[in-house]
């Protein structure tokens, strides 16, 4: 199958399944993203419900990461990238010129593909967000925030005796959990995860997946993943992207057992991707 040809079964702006929600956290309509003249996201409409875990899956280059990065405006730093359409968080336009991007990112945190701890101590990494947002008034308060975040990220017991050691000395899996702790230390409402386990071994991956399940009680989590098993294990809903189109969104169970769209079926049965 030629992946670069426009597929006859792809229809602009058309998504099968269950893309909308009565009480959405994010309400995204007709989202288009352009890199210069190239259109990377082709008219996607999707709701993301409160406190749900939703996975974005699809072949490489299908636009799932680009779409994810629209949700906290991380694409802003790419000069040639422009975003169109209506993107609302709790009914407020994300791309409104009056929208403060600092406040937005404090509400919508992000964990990256490769663990990217700052070259600082473990403590300072977690305290970074609370410090820049002025969340703690006293040292004791900050200490508590750091401890809580590390506990939630399941890292506390491993690092409590060496909080002043450089974070770069941790293992890859520990670094990624530290990055998660750093993200949730700001108490965001949404956590975006861009292939958070792709650089990790299976044990560290399992640990992070467990963590995602625990975090889903308090946060809305959107996770981009290349692992269909991971999507199946952690998410409530799964969205399948193909060449910049959102092809299908459904309950995870349904996507993996009875996909509605033929492209989704081809992908999950391993015929391409």
């Amino acid at each position: 199958m030629n992946m670069h040809m426009e597929h006859p079964e792809l229809e602009y702006g058309k998504t099968v399944g269950n893309a909308f929600s009565a009480d959405p956290k994010f309400s995204l309509r007709d989202v288009e993203v352009y890199y210069g003249d190239t259109q990377a996201i082709k008219g996607i409409s999707l709701d993301i419900a409160r406190n749900e875990v939703i996975s974005f899956i699809g072949p490489s280059g299908c636009g799932k990461s680009t779409f994810l990065r629209c949700l906290n405006r991380m694409n802003d730093s790419i000069d040639i990238c422009s975003v169109r359409g209506r993107l609302e968080l709790d009914g407020r336009d994300l791309y409104d010129p009056k929208q403060d991007v600092v406040e937005l990112r404090a509400r919508v945190g992000m964990v990256f593909q490769k663990p990217n701890p700052f070259p600082k101590s473990i403590y300072d990494n977690v305290a970074y967000g609370p410090r820049i947002h002025g969340l703690a008034n006293r040292k004791a308060e900050l200490d508590e925030m750091v401890e809580n975040s590390l506990r939630k990220a399941g890292l506390w017991n491993e690092v409590k005796d060496r909080l002043d050691r450089p974070a770069t000395g941790l293992s890859g899996g520990q670094q990624q959990r530290l990055c998660i702790a750093r993200t949730i230390a700001v108490s965001p409402e949404v956590v975006l995860m861009d292939e958070p386990c792709s650089a990790l071994d299976p044990i560290a991956t399992a640990r992070i997946e467990e963590l995602i399940s625990e975090l889903s009680e308090n946060f809305t989590i959107i996770i981009v993943t290349h692992s269909m098993q991971q999507a199946a294990r952690v998410s409530d809903r799964t969205a399948y992207f193909h060449l910049g189109h959102l092809v299908e969104v459904n309950e995870t169970n349904k996507v993996f057992t009875a996909p509605e769209h033929s492209l989704t079926e081809s992908y999950i049965t391993g015929r391409f991707g």
């Binding site: 991380m74 937005l104 992000m110 990217n116 700052f118 970074y128 967000g129 820049i132």
Partner: protein, 462 residues
């Protein structure tokens, strides 16, 4: 044949041997079923033969050229009649220059004794013989080396390994040149320095607070016994360097931050080369600028606010030197800041940090070791700078930290000590070497510290 003609000839021989070796290995490979059955690719057989042809020949050539003159001179001097035999080294060099002048036709033969004329003929004869012998020997070595290597080409020989080993040794030799030069410089300075300390006590030099290197030429001269205290010079150097760094560090660093983080790609493309252009301006030109524009401006300004400033001041030299150093710091820091992984920026921005918070709290600390290294290198540059100071800060060795006064620096004094006619064993001249030694130690220490700082923090990210 002249060496200039011999070199291309060796080049041709090398190319020829390479081609022959390449061809032979291919020919050997053909009956075996192609070059896949050779231990190495034909290129390596050719290259190895070429190395055997070129390296020994070049070594012989270098050796010959290195010793040719000495041997010929010894022979010529030895052949002189007894009454012309020189009795001292100085006399020998005088006779030799006479002989070679006659030989080259610069001195008419009528002006010198016949023994010298005969020696000149002998000199020319020996030179011609030497050149002929050298040409033959070098070509013979090249041909022989190439031939031996060519005969030894065989499918089972791994020419690649030997070629690689030779390349590695060549690279090492290149690296050794820099090291040997440094060692040579140190030694040449050390011996003169030791001689200096034979005349002036070490403690007087290191702790003395007065610098006035005029020594008496006649014993009955007045007021010229000389004082060799290096403190005023080092204080002057440090004062000017400090002023320069006060200008260069903030301006250089902030412009680097602007370039690396805030400037649009287009602005960056224009501004960066322009900034680096500053580093290409000859220091003499900076000297003009300092002496003719900045220094009068400063003394005028100081007079306007009721301060006394001399027309040449440490401030003028320091300010201009600081401007000169800006590109060192900005360019190096810009590179270092750019080398900080993008993922760290993303991580910080995604937490809701602003661009300047990201800069101050994440990128700057991550880049700090590299920036420190750049700054320390810039300090060495400031300490060693001479021209601007000569022109703008003056020559008077005042022990002062007042930037409006005239001061002088170590390098400037070295220059003034060695300019003009000097006898090479007076304390005044030797003092230049002692100062050079001290300067070398200081900048070496700074460089060592810079390297240490950079190395210590290098593993920090990733």
């Amino acid at each position: 044949m002249q060496p200039a003609n011999l070199l291309p000839l060796i080049g041709v021989l090398i190319a020829l041997v390479f081609a022959l070796g390449y061809g032979k290995s291919r020919a050997l490979a053909a009956p075996l079923g192609g070059i896949r059955n050779l231990k190495s690719l034909p290129f390596y057989y050719g290259a190895r033969a070429a190395i055997w042809c070129g390296l020994p020949a070049l070594a012989v050539l270098a050796f010959w050229l290195g010793f040719e003159n000495k041997i010929i001179q010894t022979l010529v001097i030895g052949g002189l009649p007894a009454e012309l035999q020189p009795d001292s080294a100085g006399r020998a060099s005088l006779v030799l220059s006479q002989i070679s002048n006659v030989a080259s036709g610069a001195l008419p033969p009528d002006f010198v004794p016949p023994g010298i004329v005969a020696a000149a003929d002998r000199l020319q004869g020996l030179r011609a013989d030497s050149r002929l012998l050298m040409t033959l020997l070098v070509i013979a070595v090249a041909v022989l080396g190439g031939f031996i290597a060519w005969t030894r080409i065989a499918p089972y020989i791994n020419a690649r390994e030997k070629y690689e080993a030779t390349v590695q040794r060549l690279l090492f030799a290149c690296a050794a040149v820099a090291i040997l030069t440094t060692v040579g410089i140190v030694f040449s300075v050390i011996f003169e320095t030791i001689r200096f300390f034979g005349k002036v006590p070490f403690t007087e030099f290191v702790f003395g607070t007065s610098w006035s290197p005029q020594t008496a030429i006649r014993a009955d001269q007045v007021g010229a016994e000389g004082a060799f205290g290096m403190i005023p010079l080092f204080v002057g150097t440090l004062l000017i360097s400090a002023i320069a760094m006060l200008v260069a560090i903030p301006v250089g660093l902030l412009s680097a931050i602007y370039l690396a983080e805030y400037a649009s790609p287009r602005a960056r493309k224009i501004i960066k080369p322009l900034l680096e252009l500053l580093a290409g301006v000859p220091t003499v030109v900076y000297g003009f600028f300092a002496a003719l524009t900045v220094a009068p401006f400063i003394s005028g300004l100081a007079a306007a606010v009721g301060l006394e400033a001399s027309s040449e001041s440490a401030l003028a030299a320091g300010l201009v030197m600081g401007i000169m150093i800006i590109p060192f710091i900005s360019s190096l820091s810009d590179d270092v800041i750019n080398a900080v992984p993008q993922s760290l920026r993303d991580g910080s921005l995604a937490l809701g940090a602003t661009q300047s918070e990201t800069m101050i709290k994440v990128i700057f600390p991550a880049a700090l070791p590299g920036i420190m290294g750049g700054i320390l290198l810039a300090v060495s540059r400031a300490i060693g700078e001479t021209m601007i100071v000569v022109m703008a800060a003056g020559l008077a060795a005042n022990l002062t930290v007042n930037p409006l006064e005239t001061v002088t620096t170590v390098t400037v004094q070295i220059v003034t000590l060695l300019v003009g006619d000097q006898e090479f064993d007076s304390a005044k001249t030797l003092a230049a070497f002692a100062l050079g030694m001290m300067l070398f130690i200081v900048t070496l220490a700074l460089n060592v510290v810079a390297l240490r700082v950079v190395r210590k923090y290098r593993e920090h990210y990733d």
